[in-house]
Symmetry: C2
Subunit: 480 residues, 2 copies
Amino acid sequence: MAKKKDQEFVQHITPRNEDFSQWYTDVILQANLVDYGPVRGTMVLKPYGNAIWERIRQELDQRFKATGHENVSMPMLIPESLLLKEAEHVEGFAPEVAWVTQGGDETLPERLAIRPTSETIFCTMYAKWLQSWRDLPMKYNQWCSVMRWEKSTRPFLRTSEFWWQEGHTIHETAEEAQEETLLMLDVYREVAESVLAIPVYIGKKSEREKFAGARATYSMEAMMQDGKALQAGTTHNFGTNFSEPFEVRFLSREGKLEYAHETSWGVSTRLIGAIIMTHGDERGLRLPPNIAPIQAVVLPIAQHKEGVLEGAKKIADQLSAAGLRVKFDDRDTVSPGWKFNEWELKGVPVRVEVGPRDLEAGQVTVARRDTFEKLTLPMEGLTEALAALLQDVQRTMFEQAMAFREEHTAVVHTYDELKAAVNGGFALGMWCGDDKCEEKVKAELSATTRNMPFDQTSCGDTCVVCGKKADKVMYFAKAY
Amino acid sequence: MAKKKDQEFVQHITPRNEDFSQWYTDVILQANLVDYGPVRGTMVLKPYGNAIWERIRQELDQRFKATGHENVSMPMLIPESLLLKEAEHVEGFAPEVAWVTQGGDETLPERLAIRPTSETIFCTMYAKWLQSWRDLPMKYNQWCSVMRWEKSTRPFLRTSEFWWQEGHTIHETAEEAQEETLLMLDVYREVAESVLAIPVYIGKKSEREKFAGARATYSMEAMMQDGKALQAGTTHNFGTNFSEPFEVRFLSREGKLEYAHETSWGVSTRLIGAIIMTHGDERGLRLPPNIAPIQAVVLPIAQHKEGVLEGAKKIADQLSAAGLRVKFDDRDTVSPGWKFNEWELKGVPVRVEVGPRDLEAGQVTVARRDTFEKLTLPMEGLTEALAALLQDVQRTMFEQAMAFREEHTAVVHTYDELKAAVNGGFALGMWCGDDKCEEKVKAELSATTRNMPFDQTSCGDTCVVCGKKADKVMYFAKAY
């Protein structure tokens, strides 16, 4: 029976093990998350995809505010001369900038970049606003879209335009900037793990992989179900790399002019790609309850029968009133089977069926999206039982993802082991620190260094690439 | 005593009656709402200005959702060919478009507009998504920034880039589209009046003043303290003006291909300009409690004295816990007098002073920003008393604005009366409907038709401009 339904359904979605990439495309389009925009490489966030982004935004925003950050809105256009001020930064971003050269009928005297990121404009404003150490820290964030003229694109993972938040902070001391860099990495980790149910490896990027203009970049790396890494968020310590060319200076406690110490950090709609590729299955999306726009769908069964619609509606209303995010689906144009499939495809964590026999027995029938388990719950105390069930779904999904990751992470000691491990998973091994080894891994294995965990307990003493003496513990993986 | 404080303070802000425009600039910059961006005509929303926008956004967004709308995010770039599809629309917007012509190193084969508004891109997507009458209505909205290459700019009122929401809906019938157009106008009116405490005249625009591409445009018009009108929000009924060139069609209940009926509606950061110019005074901003990011500031007085800081903090915490938006200002680097001025400048509706004598007497001293009235409130039941006081401030501010508007609105019957009335206020008079009369008023009086109220009870039978027979009741005013 379950088998038959599977078959009906999977004709629409390519199986993951057949073609993971096509599976992904099938899911995002059929679950109505996203569509392609008219300009090459752009995407449209449809209502359901946008609702997930709104939830992510809300979860992050309250944590940013709780850690003393304030939101601002910066202009999207950046004069070329500002972009050119920090050498590494412009080198990193110039090839992917979309340039405005005309305003109305006039040709502009200077090209204007649509922001690929906003370090340069934040620095320009900070230079204007900052006077004395008393003004510090300034901890600002903005929610916006940015533009990077990418050659090859995939919705959520890499598009010309995407939505994100970018925090930019300036501090009195190097220590405070470093604290902020690590604090925000931890905020990201906590949201990934406790809200998105995605376990992440956090750590420091290599020199080669760090952000253009940063002194140090930290990342959280999530493992997708094809064993590839998705960089899901980064935080950067710029030191005074930007504040020097932009003259972001302040009068110190000692009455001297000093450069501010700066950080930036961002996560984007890419997180939606991470949710899909961490949790999705052959039936489509699976959304962790803490991020799901709809946590429970209430379906009247045999809804033409007397009292069913009213009874089901009453339950839906009661659950909504208790603060659960509930959808009452009383469409009579499609069958219950169609609805089962549709809400499974959309990843709703819990389905609540209310039929005549349920109502008679004072119960409802509940199906979990994570385990496909079916259970009956008494009407009495339903709200509390369902809230607890959602917590259990959340925990189970995290455990499933964690188990997958553990199975697909190998400690490696030789190049052969590295090669085997990155073919479908992460490798943790020693690295000498030479970027030639990174180049070799990239060229030969299509893998890259991901990050160095804070726990640097060694697992050997020679580099898994070149065999020379090594003291750095590094994650390697193929990556999106 | 009040006089002296005024004098200390007003050295920073130009009086309204001396130079209203300079007063406005002084207030927005000194209250730290906004700054100028590096590209001509752009603005930066600083934390306080951005917080007001976030509150406006929240108030509107919940009403949009309650009336069945969903949010989406559309790409910001629009190919020129799409912009050209609706003739009036392109004529209206082409002169103010910022064009992207280069992506990375390549020159693009087609110019891309940064959206000045998104009718064309919504229509493109609706054409793709819409199949049958069962799919209707589609009621989508997005929050974003748009770009209009304006020659002369003022923060919040007219800038090259500004933030807004744009709702775009498609419907099965002309009636439904018209209903939506009027419903959203009423949502705007309700938010303006009950949240922003700004009374507005709602009505229909003349043909000359309607949106480029619309069949009918409705607006809400607010009166600023210089008697000028600020168009604070518009809703448009497009009929099938866009759905025809964009082929937004559906299979009707009768099985025929029909064009969808479309609307759009938007309000922007301009509303912040409306708040400032409706409510501000010589001391700066005055924010209605329902929109104020900080509703009450709690100030410890003589805070070095034993127990004061703790006592004041406890009160602030108690008010916060009850859901009021409270700032506890315990800075010891500035005097209480400085704080009084600063929070008045920032328009915080209520100041709560807690000194040693207050604590001893089990009371606090409260100052209203709207009336400058000072009162003492017992600690017992403070939360409820303060919540009620904030409601009273909200009501009072609306009544003040309403009284000002009534005083400065005149029913006019002759051209001379019209001329006198629009010099510092609104005129309500009869209009024949000829756009030649509008041109004359514009050329000679620098005033425009604002809108025709839904209540068309006539106040004469001849046009106040040309003297010919007239059956339209129209508001005239100078406008921002």
